[in-house]
């Protein structure tokens, strides 16, 4: 079972590395933010798997904190960045200028 977990951890990290292309290419701020949220979720999964592979249960706390704080980042994005983007551009298309 531990072997399977180790391979899964590797795959999840590979997932993050491939997903970095979305951060690089965008095209919009929302794509980049969602990619970052996906990485948070992957990192939580990696930490949970590592907690059982290494039998270190303190890693569960790290995963807990990471999962909780991922919400803060996305809420800040929606309120402070995304709404600022939407507000002045009501006559144009609703796309954003932040690239």
């Amino acid at each position: 079972m531990t072997e399977l977990f180790t391979v899964l951890v590797g795959l999840l990290l590979l997932n993050i590395v491939v997903g970095l292309a979305r951060v690089l290419r965008g095209p919009s701020a929302i794509d980049r933010m969602l990619a970052s949220e996906m990485f948070s979720t992957s990192a939580v999964a990696i930490l949970l798997l590592m907690a059982f592979i290494l039998d270190k249960h303190e890693l569960l706390d790290v995963a807990l904190v990471l999962a909780l704080l991922a919400a803060l980042t996305v809420v800040t994005f929606v309120i402070r960045v995304w709404s600022e983007l939407e507000a002045p551009k009501s006559d144009n298309d609703p796309g954003d200028t932040l690239k």
């Binding site: 990696i46 930490l47 904190v65 909780l68 980042t73 402070r80 600022e84």
Partner: protein, 314 residues
Amino acid sequence: MGGVVLVFDVLLAAALIWLAWQATHTPGLFRAVISFIIFGLLMALAWVRLEAPDIALAEAAIGAGATGALLLSALGRLAVTDEAGTPWQERADLTFWIPAGLALLGLLTLAAWYLPSPGLGQEVQASLPDSGVQNPVTAVLLNFRAFDTLLEIGVLLLATIAIWSLGPMPMPGAQAIISPVLPALGRILFPMFALVSIYLLWRGSHAPGGAFSAGAVIGAGGILSILAGARPWLTGSAYGPWRVLLSLGLSAMLAVALGVIVLGQPFFAYPTHLAGTIVLLLELAAGLSIAMSLVALYLAGQPPTHWDGESLRQ
């Protein structure tokens, strides 16, 4: 399985270097900020791989959480049209910074090479029973090297005072998207932040956790409730002297440091039978101060003492 572990480490290191490059060199501030947030996330994983779960916890709480919120809010306050930005492409800069960076890397490698190889881990383990806690990191932070922590808490207080002295806090503009989800999210999530924070504070005495991560988590909860429209009541006289909490950590540590002299101990040397209680109380005081400082830093200025409207965004 060694192969998979090696691939994992190489991928992690390569992604970290690439993200660091992106965060400093990408055109467009939003991309740089996102790269920095992801950098913090992967850095937490790197600390786990380096078998430093305490630092991983702090990095997860401060790097991925509070710093992300700070940077994104700062970005929202800047002019939004920064598509092109100014990528750092002058060759003159690169011809200086690449050799300078390599030289710094060489010096750091040299310094790491000459570190005393067993370190002080053995000594800390040997005197752990006298510290009053079972977690060696907490023992070092709040007992053996409590003086360093005193200075760190002092720096946080100083930063808050410096930011407040810059002027009143900028009021966020009217929200373009009014969502009913947000106040509800703040109301449901804040108790979770508080619960996890108390748990981490309690865990700190025998496992990774402690004042810094607990304070960062509850501080992040405070930032969340401010985002959800809560009033930052730090200076409001109607809400009681909350701002005293900002200096609670520093004053509690100073009181303990000088108080033990009265008991006939040297400066900052706790009596062994009281050490556990003292460390727990100091963690509580420091955690509260750290949380309040994070919220105060996030406000980016002194909050007004009186509020006209019912809520921050009317």
